[in-house]
Amino acid sequence: MKPFTYERPTTPAAAAAAVTRRPDAKFIAGGTNLLDLMKLQIETPGHLVDVQDLRLDTIEATDDGGLRIGARVTNTALASDPRVRRDYGVLARAILAGASGQLRNKATTAGNLLQRTRCPYFYDTYQPCNKRQPGSGCAAIGGYGRPLAVIGGSDACIATHPSDMAVALRLLDARVETVTADGTTRAIPIADFHRLPGDTPHVETALARGELITAVTLPKPLGGTHVYRKVRDRASYAFALVSVAAVIRPDGTGRVALGGVAPKPWRAEAAEAELPSGAKAVADALLAGARPTADNAFKLPLVERTIAAAISDARE
Protein backbone atom coordinates (compact mmCIF):
# COMPACT_ATOMS: atom_id res chain seq x y z
CA MET A 1 0.00 0.00 0.00
CA LYS A 2 1.09 3.56 -0.65
CA PRO A 3 1.56 5.51 2.57
CA PHE A 4 -1.41 7.53 3.78
CA THR A 5 -2.58 9.41 6.83
CA TYR A 6 -5.54 8.30 8.93
CA GLU A 7 -8.15 9.94 11.15
CA ARG A 8 -11.31 8.98 13.04
CA PRO A 9 -13.69 11.93 13.32
CA THR A 10 -16.69 11.71 15.63
CA THR A 11 -19.50 13.41 13.69
CA PRO A 12 -20.79 12.72 10.17
CA ALA A 13 -20.42 16.35 9.08
CA ALA A 14 -16.81 16.42 10.33
CA ALA A 15 -16.08 13.24 8.39
CA ALA A 16 -17.65 14.71 5.25
CA ALA A 17 -15.60 17.88 5.75
CA ALA A 18 -12.41 15.87 6.18
CA VAL A 19 -12.90 14.14 2.82
CA THR A 20 -14.12 17.32 1.08
CA ARG A 21 -10.98 19.19 2.20
CA ARG A 22 -8.52 16.81 0.57
CA PRO A 23 -8.99 15.67 -3.02
CA ASP A 24 -6.99 12.49 -2.29
CA ALA A 25 -9.03 11.50 0.80
CA LYS A 26 -11.47 8.60 1.03
CA PHE A 27 -13.84 7.24 3.65
CA ILE A 28 -13.04 3.82 5.05
CA ALA A 29 -15.71 1.66 6.72
CA GLY A 30 -15.18 -2.12 6.81
CA GLY A 31 -12.32 -1.80 4.34
CA THR A 32 -12.89 -5.27 2.88
CA ASN A 33 -12.86 -3.94 -0.68
CA LEU A 34 -10.92 -0.68 -0.29
CA LEU A 35 -7.88 -2.25 1.41
CA ASP A 36 -7.82 -4.98 -1.21
CA LEU A 37 -7.77 -2.32 -3.95
CA MET A 38 -5.15 -0.29 -2.06
CA LYS A 39 -2.83 -3.30 -1.89
CA LEU A 40 -3.10 -3.58 -5.68
CA GLN A 41 -2.65 0.21 -5.96
CA ILE A 42 -5.90 0.48 -7.90
CA GLU A 43 -6.96 2.86 -5.13
CA THR A 44 -4.22 5.13 -3.77
CA PRO A 45 -5.77 7.52 -1.26
CA GLY A 46 -3.40 9.86 0.57
CA HIS A 47 -5.74 10.16 3.53
CA LEU A 48 -8.31 7.81 5.07
CA VAL A 49 -11.25 9.01 7.14
CA ASP A 50 -12.51 6.12 9.29
CA VAL A 51 -16.28 6.29 9.92
CA GLN A 52 -16.38 3.84 12.84
CA ASP A 53 -16.86 6.46 15.57
CA LEU A 54 -19.80 8.26 13.90
CA ARG A 55 -22.47 6.24 15.73
CA LEU A 56 -24.04 5.07 12.50
CA ASP A 57 -24.37 1.47 13.65
CA THR A 58 -27.97 1.05 14.76
CA ILE A 59 -31.14 -0.20 13.05
CA GLU A 60 -34.22 1.78 14.05
CA ALA A 61 -37.92 1.73 13.19
CA THR A 62 -39.08 4.74 11.17
CA ASP A 63 -42.35 6.64 11.65
CA ASP A 64 -43.79 5.26 8.40
CA GLY A 65 -43.39 1.63 9.50
CA GLY A 66 -40.04 1.01 7.81
CA LEU A 67 -36.46 0.73 9.04
CA ARG A 68 -33.50 3.08 9.09
CA ILE A 69 -30.26 1.11 8.81
CA GLY A 70 -27.14 2.97 9.94
CA ALA A 71 -24.45 3.20 7.27
CA ARG A 72 -21.97 1.26 9.39
CA VAL A 73 -24.28 -1.61 10.40
CA THR A 74 -22.39 -4.73 9.39
CA ASN A 75 -23.76 -7.15 6.82
CA THR A 76 -23.85 -9.80 9.59
CA ALA A 77 -25.84 -7.57 11.95
CA LEU A 78 -28.26 -6.56 9.19
CA ALA A 79 -28.90 -10.12 8.01
CA SER A 80 -29.49 -11.34 11.57
CA ASP A 81 -31.76 -8.51 12.73
CA PRO A 82 -35.13 -10.13 13.63
CA ARG A 83 -37.12 -7.34 11.93
CA VAL A 84 -35.14 -7.75 8.73
CA ARG A 85 -35.53 -11.53 8.82
CA ARG A 86 -39.28 -11.25 9.42
CA ASP A 87 -40.27 -8.37 7.12
CA TYR A 88 -37.47 -8.06 4.57
CA GLY A 89 -36.42 -11.69 4.09
CA VAL A 90 -35.08 -11.02 0.60
CA LEU A 91 -32.51 -8.64 2.09
CA ALA A 92 -31.28 -11.13 4.72
CA ARG A 93 -31.06 -13.88 2.08
CA ALA A 94 -29.22 -11.68 -0.41
CA ILE A 95 -26.63 -10.68 2.19
CA LEU A 96 -26.06 -14.27 3.31
CA ALA A 97 -25.59 -15.31 -0.32
CA GLY A 98 -22.55 -13.03 -0.56
CA ALA A 99 -18.92 -13.20 0.60
CA SER A 100 -17.83 -15.22 3.67
CA GLY A 101 -18.68 -14.93 7.35
CA GLN A 102 -15.41 -13.14 8.05
CA LEU A 103 -16.08 -10.54 5.36
CA ARG A 104 -19.73 -10.03 6.34
CA ASN A 105 -18.63 -9.42 9.93
CA LYS A 106 -16.69 -6.36 8.76
CA ALA A 107 -18.44 -5.23 5.58
CA THR A 108 -20.94 -2.42 6.15
CA THR A 109 -24.25 -1.39 4.61
CA ALA A 110 -22.87 1.74 2.94
CA GLY A 111 -19.60 0.07 1.99
CA ASN A 112 -21.44 -2.78 0.32
CA LEU A 113 -23.28 -0.26 -1.92
CA LEU A 114 -19.97 1.44 -2.77
CA GLN A 115 -17.91 -1.67 -3.53
CA ARG A 116 -16.21 -1.64 -6.90
CA THR A 117 -16.73 -4.08 -9.75
CA ARG A 118 -14.90 -7.43 -9.82
CA CYS A 119 -14.35 -7.17 -13.61
CA PRO A 120 -11.01 -8.98 -14.10
CA TYR A 121 -9.75 -6.16 -16.35
CA PHE A 122 -10.44 -3.56 -13.66
CA TYR A 123 -8.28 -5.62 -11.29
CA ASP A 124 -5.48 -6.23 -13.82
CA THR A 125 -3.43 -3.04 -13.79
CA TYR A 126 -1.60 -4.09 -16.97
CA GLN A 127 -4.84 -3.85 -18.96
CA PRO A 128 -6.62 -0.72 -20.14
CA CYS A 129 -9.76 0.06 -18.13
CA ASN A 130 -11.87 3.20 -18.44
CA LYS A 131 -13.13 2.74 -14.90
CA ARG A 132 -9.67 2.51 -13.36
CA GLN A 133 -7.97 4.95 -15.72
CA PRO A 134 -10.49 7.12 -17.60
CA GLY A 135 -9.82 7.26 -21.33
CA SER A 136 -7.47 4.26 -21.42
CA GLY A 137 -9.97 1.95 -23.16
CA CYS A 138 -11.79 -1.24 -22.20
CA ALA A 139 -10.03 -4.59 -22.44
CA ALA A 140 -13.20 -6.41 -21.36
CA ILE A 141 -14.97 -5.57 -24.63
CA GLY A 142 -13.69 -8.27 -26.96
CA GLY A 143 -11.98 -9.96 -24.00
CA TYR A 144 -13.17 -12.66 -21.60
CA GLY A 145 -16.76 -11.67 -20.97
CA ARG A 146 -18.25 -14.51 -18.92
CA PRO A 147 -18.78 -12.54 -15.68
CA LEU A 148 -19.67 -9.25 -17.35
CA ALA A 149 -22.78 -7.22 -18.11
CA VAL A 150 -25.35 -8.13 -20.76
CA ILE A 151 -27.38 -4.95 -20.41
CA GLY A 152 -26.83 -1.37 -19.28
CA GLY A 153 -23.19 -1.31 -20.39
CA SER A 154 -21.67 1.08 -22.91
CA ASP A 155 -18.86 1.16 -25.48
CA ALA A 156 -16.65 2.35 -22.60
CA CYS A 157 -17.47 -0.32 -19.98
CA ILE A 158 -19.36 -3.59 -19.50
CA ALA A 159 -18.52 -4.22 -15.84
CA THR A 160 -21.20 -5.50 -13.47
CA HIS A 161 -22.03 -4.25 -9.99
CA PRO A 162 -21.06 -7.15 -7.72
CA SER A 163 -23.37 -6.62 -4.72
CA ASP A 164 -26.10 -9.05 -3.72
CA MET A 165 -27.38 -6.75 -0.97
CA ALA A 166 -27.93 -3.88 -3.42
CA VAL A 167 -30.20 -6.06 -5.58
CA ALA A 168 -32.49 -6.64 -2.61
CA LEU A 169 -32.39 -2.93 -1.68
CA ARG A 170 -33.40 -2.03 -5.25
CA LEU A 171 -36.28 -4.51 -5.04
CA LEU A 172 -37.41 -2.96 -1.75
CA ASP A 173 -37.21 0.67 -3.01
CA ALA A 174 -34.68 1.64 -0.36
CA ARG A 175 -33.39 5.21 -0.06
CA VAL A 176 -29.83 6.26 0.66
CA GLU A 177 -29.50 9.10 3.18
CA THR A 178 -26.44 11.33 3.01
CA VAL A 179 -24.83 14.36 4.58
CA THR A 180 -22.31 16.83 3.20
CA ALA A 181 -19.64 18.96 4.89
CA ASP A 182 -22.01 21.90 5.38
CA GLY A 183 -24.58 19.65 7.07
CA THR A 184 -26.96 19.40 4.08
CA THR A 185 -28.82 16.09 4.02
CA ARG A 186 -30.72 14.33 1.25
CA ALA A 187 -32.30 10.94 0.50
CA ILE A 188 -31.45 9.35 -2.85
CA PRO A 189 -33.82 6.67 -4.20
CA ILE A 190 -31.76 3.50 -4.72
CA ALA A 191 -32.85 3.44 -8.38
CA ASP A 192 -30.91 6.69 -8.91
CA PHE A 193 -27.98 5.87 -6.63
CA HIS A 194 -25.86 3.77 -8.99
CA ARG A 195 -25.12 5.23 -12.42
CA LEU A 196 -24.80 3.47 -15.74
CA PRO A 197 -21.32 3.81 -17.24
CA GLY A 198 -22.05 5.81 -20.43
CA ASP A 199 -18.89 7.74 -21.30
CA THR A 200 -17.83 8.07 -17.64
CA PRO A 201 -17.61 4.58 -16.13
CA HIS A 202 -15.37 5.87 -13.33
CA VAL A 203 -18.37 7.81 -11.97
CA GLU A 204 -20.35 5.05 -10.30
CA THR A 205 -22.83 6.74 -7.98
CA ALA A 206 -24.88 9.91 -7.54
CA LEU A 207 -22.72 10.93 -4.55
CA ALA A 208 -20.87 14.26 -4.70
CA ARG A 209 -17.24 14.41 -3.54
CA GLY A 210 -17.16 14.21 0.25
CA GLU A 211 -20.86 13.31 0.52
CA LEU A 212 -21.20 10.68 3.26
CA ILE A 213 -23.85 7.96 3.43
CA THR A 214 -25.39 8.03 6.90
CA ALA A 215 -28.18 5.46 6.52
CA VAL A 216 -30.25 3.34 4.19
CA THR A 217 -33.99 3.42 4.79
CA LEU A 218 -36.54 0.77 3.89
CA PRO A 219 -40.21 1.60 3.34
CA LYS A 220 -42.84 -0.34 5.25
CA PRO A 221 -42.84 -4.11 4.59
CA LEU A 222 -44.27 -5.35 1.29
CA GLY A 223 -45.54 -8.71 2.52
CA GLY A 224 -45.47 -11.57 0.02
CA THR A 225 -42.92 -14.35 -0.18
CA HIS A 226 -39.30 -13.24 -0.34
CA VAL A 227 -36.82 -15.14 -2.50
CA TYR A 228 -33.18 -14.60 -3.42
CA ARG A 229 -31.73 -17.01 -5.96
CA LYS A 230 -28.05 -16.73 -6.84
CA VAL A 231 -26.39 -18.72 -9.62
CA ARG A 232 -22.60 -18.83 -9.56
CA ASP A 233 -19.65 -20.93 -10.63
CA ARG A 234 -19.32 -22.64 -7.23
CA ALA A 235 -21.72 -23.23 -4.39
CA SER A 236 -20.42 -20.63 -1.97
CA TYR A 237 -18.22 -17.62 -1.77
CA ALA A 238 -18.41 -16.48 -5.41
CA PHE A 239 -19.98 -13.55 -7.23
CA ALA A 240 -23.26 -14.01 -9.07
CA LEU A 241 -23.41 -14.93 -12.72
CA VAL A 242 -27.09 -14.16 -12.38
CA SER A 243 -29.11 -13.46 -9.27
CA VAL A 244 -32.81 -12.86 -8.84
CA ALA A 245 -34.42 -11.04 -5.93
CA ALA A 246 -38.18 -11.45 -5.88
CA VAL A 247 -41.20 -10.73 -3.75
CA ILE A 248 -44.19 -12.73 -4.92
CA ARG A 249 -47.70 -12.20 -3.55
CA PRO A 250 -50.26 -15.01 -3.34
CA ASP A 251 -52.12 -13.64 -6.40
CA GLY A 252 -48.95 -14.05 -8.51
CA THR A 253 -48.10 -10.34 -8.71
CA GLY A 254 -44.88 -9.01 -7.20
CA ARG A 255 -41.46 -7.54 -7.89
CA VAL A 256 -38.26 -8.82 -9.52
CA ALA A 257 -34.72 -7.40 -9.61
CA LEU A 258 -31.57 -8.89 -11.11
CA GLY A 259 -27.93 -8.98 -10.10
CA GLY A 260 -24.87 -10.06 -12.07
CA VAL A 261 -26.18 -8.80 -15.41
CA ALA A 262 -25.70 -5.03 -15.39
CA PRO A 263 -23.56 -2.18 -14.01
CA LYS A 264 -26.22 -1.62 -11.34
CA PRO A 265 -28.98 -3.68 -9.73
CA TRP A 266 -31.38 -4.24 -12.63
CA ARG A 267 -35.08 -3.71 -12.24
CA ALA A 268 -37.82 -2.56 -14.62
CA GLU A 269 -41.14 -1.93 -12.92
CA ALA A 270 -42.95 -2.47 -16.27
CA ALA A 271 -41.54 -6.01 -16.46
CA GLU A 272 -43.19 -6.87 -13.15
CA ALA A 273 -46.63 -6.44 -14.72
CA GLU A 274 -45.74 -9.59 -16.72
CA LEU A 275 -45.30 -11.75 -13.60
CA PRO A 276 -48.70 -13.45 -13.87
CA SER A 277 -47.73 -14.44 -17.46
CA GLY A 278 -44.62 -16.29 -16.26
CA ALA A 279 -40.85 -16.09 -16.22
CA LYS A 280 -40.27 -15.77 -19.96
CA ALA A 281 -42.42 -12.67 -20.29
CA VAL A 282 -40.71 -11.08 -17.27
CA ALA A 283 -37.21 -11.93 -18.50
CA ASP A 284 -37.95 -10.66 -22.01
CA ALA A 285 -39.21 -7.35 -20.64
CA LEU A 286 -36.30 -6.98 -18.18
CA LEU A 287 -33.67 -7.77 -20.79
CA ALA A 288 -35.11 -5.89 -23.78
CA GLY A 289 -32.16 -4.31 -25.57
CA ALA A 290 -29.57 -6.63 -24.00
CA ARG A 291 -26.19 -6.72 -25.77
CA PRO A 292 -24.42 -9.86 -24.53
CA THR A 293 -20.97 -10.96 -25.68
CA ALA A 294 -20.27 -14.43 -27.06
CA ASP A 295 -19.01 -15.45 -23.60
CA ASN A 296 -22.01 -14.30 -21.60
CA ALA A 297 -24.99 -14.81 -23.91
CA PHE A 298 -25.80 -17.76 -21.62
CA LYS A 299 -26.98 -15.22 -19.03
CA LEU A 300 -30.13 -14.44 -21.03
CA PRO A 301 -31.72 -17.91 -20.78
CA LEU A 302 -30.21 -18.23 -17.29
CA VAL A 303 -32.13 -15.14 -16.17
CA GLU A 304 -35.38 -16.64 -17.44
CA ARG A 305 -34.73 -19.97 -15.71
CA THR A 306 -33.65 -18.32 -12.46
CA ILE A 307 -36.81 -16.18 -12.42
CA ALA A 308 -38.84 -19.35 -13.06
CA ALA A 309 -37.05 -21.04 -10.14
CA ALA A 310 -37.69 -18.02 -7.91
CA ILE A 311 -41.41 -18.04 -8.76
CA SER A 312 -41.48 -21.76 -8.07
CA ASP A 313 -39.66 -21.26 -4.73
CA ALA A 314 -42.26 -18.67 -3.77
CA ARG A 315 -45.13 -21.11 -4.42
CA GLU A 316 -43.68 -23.84 -2.21
Binding site: T5, R8, Q102, L103, K106, Y237
Partner: protein, 171 residues
Protein backbone atom coordinates in the same frame (compact mmCIF):
# COMPACT_ATOMS: atom_id res chain seq x y z
CA UNK B 1 0.76 6.27 14.97
CA UNK B 2 0.10 4.48 18.24
CA UNK B 3 -2.18 1.44 18.17
CA UNK B 4 -3.30 -0.07 21.46
CA UNK B 5 -5.58 -3.08 21.62
CA UNK B 6 -6.34 -6.06 23.78
CA UNK B 7 -4.81 -9.25 22.43
CA UNK B 8 -5.68 -12.50 24.18
CA UNK B 9 -6.63 -10.54 27.30
CA UNK B 10 -3.50 -8.41 27.49
CA UNK B 11 -3.18 -4.75 26.52
CA UNK B 12 -0.64 -4.49 23.70
CA UNK B 13 0.62 -1.36 22.06
CA UNK B 14 2.98 -0.36 19.24
CA UNK B 15 3.96 2.59 17.07
CA UNK B 16 3.14 1.66 13.48
CA UNK B 17 2.71 3.36 10.10
CA UNK B 18 -1.01 3.86 9.24
CA UNK B 19 -0.77 1.37 6.36
CA UNK B 20 -0.05 -1.49 8.78
CA UNK B 21 -2.73 -4.17 8.61
CA UNK B 22 -3.93 -5.90 11.75
CA UNK B 23 -2.23 -9.05 10.43
CA UNK B 24 1.16 -7.33 10.08
CA UNK B 25 0.66 -5.72 13.48
CA UNK B 26 0.10 -9.11 15.11
CA UNK B 27 2.83 -10.97 13.25
CA UNK B 28 5.60 -8.39 12.94
CA UNK B 29 5.08 -6.04 15.88
CA UNK B 30 3.74 -8.48 18.49
CA UNK B 31 5.49 -11.60 17.12
CA UNK B 32 2.20 -13.51 17.20
CA UNK B 33 2.65 -15.55 14.04
CA UNK B 34 -0.27 -17.91 14.57
CA UNK B 35 -2.46 -15.91 12.19
CA UNK B 36 -1.03 -16.79 8.77
CA UNK B 37 -0.38 -14.63 5.74
CA UNK B 38 -2.01 -16.53 2.89
CA UNK B 39 -3.65 -14.71 -0.01
CA UNK B 40 -3.55 -11.35 1.82
CA UNK B 41 -6.77 -10.26 0.02
CA UNK B 42 -9.49 -11.79 2.18
CA UNK B 43 -10.07 -14.95 0.17
CA UNK B 44 -8.34 -17.76 2.07
CA UNK B 45 -9.11 -17.10 5.74
CA UNK B 46 -5.65 -18.19 6.98
CA UNK B 47 -5.38 -14.83 8.82
CA UNK B 48 -8.71 -15.21 10.64
CA UNK B 49 -8.79 -13.76 14.17
CA UNK B 50 -11.69 -12.97 16.49
CA UNK B 51 -12.38 -9.24 16.83
CA UNK B 52 -14.93 -8.22 19.48
CA UNK B 53 -16.42 -11.72 19.26
CA UNK B 54 -16.59 -11.96 15.47
CA UNK B 55 -14.28 -13.85 13.10
CA UNK B 56 -12.62 -11.42 10.68
CA UNK B 57 -9.81 -11.45 8.10
CA UNK B 58 -6.89 -9.66 9.80
CA UNK B 59 -5.33 -8.98 6.38
CA UNK B 60 -8.26 -6.76 5.31
CA UNK B 61 -8.24 -4.50 8.31
CA UNK B 62 -5.91 -1.73 9.36
CA UNK B 63 -4.35 -2.03 12.80
CA UNK B 64 -5.60 1.53 13.27
CA UNK B 65 -9.18 0.34 12.74
CA UNK B 66 -8.71 -2.20 15.53
CA UNK B 67 -7.34 0.39 17.96
CA UNK B 68 -9.19 0.08 21.28
CA UNK B 69 -10.79 -3.25 20.36
CA UNK B 70 -10.46 -6.84 21.56
CA UNK B 71 -8.62 -9.48 19.52
CA UNK B 72 -8.26 -13.21 20.09
CA UNK B 73 -5.61 -15.11 18.12
CA UNK B 74 -4.83 -18.82 18.09
CA UNK B 75 -2.14 -18.15 20.72
CA UNK B 76 -4.92 -17.18 23.12
CA UNK B 77 -6.74 -20.53 23.08
CA UNK B 78 -4.56 -23.03 24.92
CA UNK B 79 -4.11 -22.68 28.68
CA UNK B 80 -1.66 -24.15 31.21
CA UNK B 81 -4.12 -27.03 31.54
CA UNK B 82 -3.78 -27.89 27.87
CA UNK B 83 -5.13 -27.31 24.42
CA UNK B 84 -8.53 -25.81 23.69
CA UNK B 85 -11.06 -28.62 22.95
CA UNK B 86 -11.12 -27.61 19.28
CA UNK B 87 -7.32 -27.83 19.04
CA UNK B 88 -7.41 -31.13 20.86
CA UNK B 89 -10.01 -32.76 18.65
CA UNK B 90 -8.26 -31.51 15.51
CA UNK B 91 -5.00 -33.02 16.76
CA UNK B 92 -6.53 -36.32 17.84
CA UNK B 93 -8.58 -36.93 14.71
CA UNK B 94 -6.06 -35.67 12.16
CA UNK B 95 -8.45 -32.94 11.04
CA UNK B 96 -5.48 -30.95 9.79
CA UNK B 97 -2.77 -32.06 7.41
CA UNK B 98 -0.26 -29.33 6.50
CA UNK B 99 -1.88 -27.16 9.18
CA UNK B 100 -1.53 -23.78 7.47
CA UNK B 101 -5.28 -23.15 7.49
CA UNK B 102 -5.64 -24.50 11.04
CA UNK B 103 -5.48 -21.32 13.15
CA UNK B 104 -8.06 -19.65 10.94
CA UNK B 105 -10.35 -22.67 10.83
CA UNK B 106 -10.19 -23.14 14.60
CA UNK B 107 -10.95 -19.47 15.28
CA UNK B 108 -13.87 -19.48 12.82
CA UNK B 109 -15.15 -22.58 14.63
CA UNK B 110 -14.67 -20.98 18.05
CA UNK B 111 -16.56 -17.83 16.97
CA UNK B 112 -19.36 -20.07 15.71
CA UNK B 113 -19.60 -22.14 18.91
CA UNK B 114 -19.47 -19.03 21.09
CA UNK B 115 -22.64 -17.80 19.33
CA UNK B 116 -24.29 -21.09 18.49
CA UNK B 117 -23.47 -23.97 20.86
CA UNK B 118 -25.46 -26.50 18.80
CA UNK B 119 -24.72 -25.85 15.12
CA UNK B 120 -25.96 -28.14 12.37
CA UNK B 121 -23.50 -29.53 9.83
CA UNK B 122 -24.71 -26.93 7.34
CA UNK B 123 -24.17 -24.12 9.85
CA UNK B 124 -20.62 -25.38 10.41
CA UNK B 125 -20.05 -25.49 6.66
CA UNK B 126 -21.34 -21.92 6.34
CA UNK B 127 -19.04 -20.80 9.16
CA UNK B 128 -16.02 -22.36 7.39
CA UNK B 129 -16.94 -21.05 3.92
CA UNK B 130 -14.29 -18.34 4.26
CA UNK B 131 -11.50 -20.75 5.29
CA UNK B 132 -9.85 -22.57 2.43
CA UNK B 133 -8.17 -25.91 3.14
CA UNK B 134 -6.41 -27.51 0.20
CA UNK B 135 -5.43 -30.71 2.03
CA UNK B 136 -8.31 -32.28 3.86
CA UNK B 137 -11.70 -31.86 2.23
CA UNK B 138 -13.05 -30.49 5.55
CA UNK B 139 -14.90 -33.66 6.63
CA UNK B 140 -12.94 -34.35 9.82
CA UNK B 141 -12.99 -30.66 10.71
CA UNK B 142 -16.77 -30.53 10.48
CA UNK B 143 -17.16 -33.79 12.44
CA UNK B 144 -14.66 -32.53 15.03
CA UNK B 145 -16.41 -29.19 15.51
CA UNK B 146 -19.72 -30.98 16.00
CA UNK B 147 -18.10 -33.36 18.50
CA UNK B 148 -16.66 -30.45 20.49
CA UNK B 149 -20.05 -28.72 20.46
CA UNK B 150 -21.67 -31.84 21.91
CA UNK B 151 -18.96 -32.28 24.56
CA UNK B 152 -19.04 -28.63 25.59
CA UNK B 153 -22.83 -28.69 25.90
CA UNK B 154 -22.73 -31.77 28.13
CA UNK B 155 -20.18 -30.30 30.56
CA UNK B 156 -21.58 -27.87 33.10
CA UNK B 157 -19.91 -24.54 32.42
CA UNK B 158 -17.51 -23.67 35.26
CA UNK B 159 -17.59 -20.14 36.56
CA UNK B 160 -15.13 -18.21 34.43
CA UNK B 161 -13.86 -14.70 35.00
CA UNK B 162 -15.66 -12.24 32.72
CA UNK B 163 -14.00 -12.10 29.32
CA UNK B 164 -11.51 -9.29 29.29
CA UNK B 165 -12.81 -6.43 27.20
CA UNK B 166 -10.25 -3.92 26.06
CA UNK B 167 -10.79 -0.38 27.22
CA UNK B 168 -13.25 0.88 24.62
CA UNK B 169 -11.54 4.13 23.83
CA UNK B 170 -13.53 4.55 20.68
CA UNK B 171 -16.92 3.27 21.71
Amino acid sequence: MNVTLTVNGETRSAEVPPETTLLVFLREYLNLTGAKTGCDIGDCGACTVILDGKAVNACLMLAAQADGRDVITIEGLATREGLHPLQKVFEETGALQCGFCGPGVILSAKALLDENPAPSKQEIRNALAGNLCRCTGYVKMIDGIQEVAETMRSVPTPALPAASKGEQKHG
